[in-house]
Symmetry: C2
Subunit: 346 residues, 2 copies
């Protein structure tokens, strides 16, 4: 049944005191309450005090729905992303959350549990009904490309870690730079060439890292060995690492993220190939744990905080000033630890 009982309370739903109640209590008009609530200065000190007292007494909380309806602003940023399970996504989200809070926005998470095109469409459609002023999208590019659902045309959007289709501002780590750093580090150590454990086929960042690794090898006249394709997980790194360990030619491996690098490390240990004495391994991300891997991992540091901060900044700028930004690249840094060394002289 819905409601038959006449003694029933307001359907379990709270309706707190409104401005009108506060106004009555403080003996002023609703508008004055509004002014106090919004921190306007043109209110007499004594009146303001009276209003604040009334607010406290009644436990007044502004109704954000009414405010949003009136002003057209929600003060909330939507974030569309896949599973939080990759280290990078999580760190980026964390940074976005902090930056958004600082900018006076809250965050609305719109997860896309299964990265299929259909799900993305659903999420984007869902977005239409969400109460957000703008959206930060962190999904693999190809899914966006293939998705026919249009984003609401007038909604500010910033793309992170992906391609902007020439239509949206992009904030991304300089993947190419990082991969070059890693590859050149290994080459500089004297390795003949560098093997690559890549991220999944259709990942934009995996693709960029792979391209850059390849072109760096070519630029240095090094042979380009076949690419091994993983899925970001340490499991896949482990499986692929086992293959690499079997080949005595392999002396240097660049994994497209730290988790796969960890798997490679394990594979080398299991196969009795010493790191870094026989095989050098470099990762990408610089997870908090990477320094505690065995051996501590040489890797490419990503400034996730910066990516998050810049994407919020770009979005808020578009929301508030109506001006769209272009592409921003965040630099990377090589962190040399103990998983890399010069190849053994045979």
């Amino acid at each position: 049944m819905t409601t038959t009982n006449p003694t029933e309370a307001p359907a379990g739903r709270r309706r707190g005191p409104s401005m009108a109640d506060v106004a009555r209590e403080a003996n002023v008009s609703g508008q004055t309450v509004s002014r106090v609530s919004n921190g306007r200065t043109n209110v007499d000190a004594e009146t303001r005090e009276r209003v604040l007292a009334a607010m406290r007494k009644l436990g007044y909380r502004p109704n954000s729905a009414a405010r949003a309806l009136r002003t057209g602003r929600f003060h909330s940023i939507g974030v569309i992303m896949f599973t939080l399970s990759t280290y990078g996504n999580m760190r980026t989200l964390d940074a976005i959350a902090v930056a958004a809070t600082d900018a006076g926005y809250s965050l609305t998470l719109i997860p896309v549990p299964h990265p299929t095109q259909g799900e993305v469409s659903v999420a984007l459609h869902r977005l239409s009904e969400e109460a957000v002023d703008g959206v930060i999208i962190i999904v693999e590019a190809h899914l966006l490309d293939e998705t026919d659902v249009e984003l609401p045309p007038d909604l500010p959007v910033v793309i992170v870690d992906s391609r902007g289709r020439d239509r949206y501002p992009v904030v991304d780590t300089d993947q190419a730079h990082g991969a070059r750093l890693a590859t050149e580090h290994l080459l500089g150590l004297g390795h003949r060439t560098v093997w690559h454990v890549a991220g999944p086929e259709r990942s934009y960042s995996a693709e960029r890292r792979r391209e850059s690794w390849e072109s760096t090898l070519r630029a240095h006249g090094a042979e380009v060995p076949p690419v091994l394709v993983g899925d970001w997980s340490s499991e896949s790194g482990h499986a692929l690492g086992l293959e690499l360990a079997r080949d005595p030619e392999v002396t240097a491996v660049f994994a497209a993220n730290d988790q796969m690098a960890l798997g490679v490390l394990r594979a080398m240990h299991e196969s009795g190939r010493a790191v870094p004495d026989e095989v050098s391994v470099v990762g990408f991300d610089d997870m908090a744990e990477s320094a505690s891997f065995w051996p501590p991992l040489t890797t490419v540091h990503q400034f996730f905080g910066e990516v998050g901060r810049l994407s919020v900044e770009a979005l808020v700028h578009e929301v508030e000033a109506g001006e769209r930004r272009g592409t921003t690249l965040v630099s990377t840094e090589l962190v040399v630890r103990e998983s890399t060394a010069a190849p053994r002289r045979d």
Copy 2:
């Protein structure tokens, strides 16, 4: 008219078509549009089609602020949490996000960047203005205890991984069970006693794990060695592990999470103490990476997905049915890998 400047655009703010526009286009009343928009059945098929066509043509998107104002429901769940940087928090958040989406709610993140009491107060206060139907709180218990800011009294709340102060429903992993599992596993292997690398002093879960480790030792008549206190990070695990490695008495270590266990592993390697031959190590969490640690880590598996699912379920139940749930404990499971073995016979 309202605007003074005739050439002025709508102040950079989008105001999409409203129900009234759709109604005009479809030649029906606004109420009929509302009915179609909400999927009511009492609309003639032909009329519904006409309305849907008009919606598509105009690109109509329901205004959630107006809807929320009218209905008093936001269809959003707030999540208050510290930094996402611990593995457990992130996994829990992920699960909450998925469960919330399935239940038809979106997620509003209210981060508390710095875990000081003041910040928590700010976050809770901020909450007052957020457009949420209920809140899931994932912060250390003591900060809640010390916080004088009251939660809005009529707002449904569920506490995760913390203590409910007898006022709110709690969903938590059965910390005590997990710690007992770990300790008994080590004892069962024949170790004389088990050393403990604990989480930070004031963490509720750290406290529970530590208590349970201690009482399990006592129950088995084993000596209780001094506790080493870390901060969840692998860095701290490493530092503490170095101390443990120096003491030849130490043959079994239970770390309160996998990240600290990783640090202990590294410390043992650096100190030349073989794992598991000389020292056994057990963690807590079962991170995705733990199987790739060297050696693969024996650890206590937490069902984060279950915790997230149950907390959303409890909250939604309270929001929609007005009934409050009690405390729910989620079980744990020991995953035995290769970081544990019987102590060496000297």
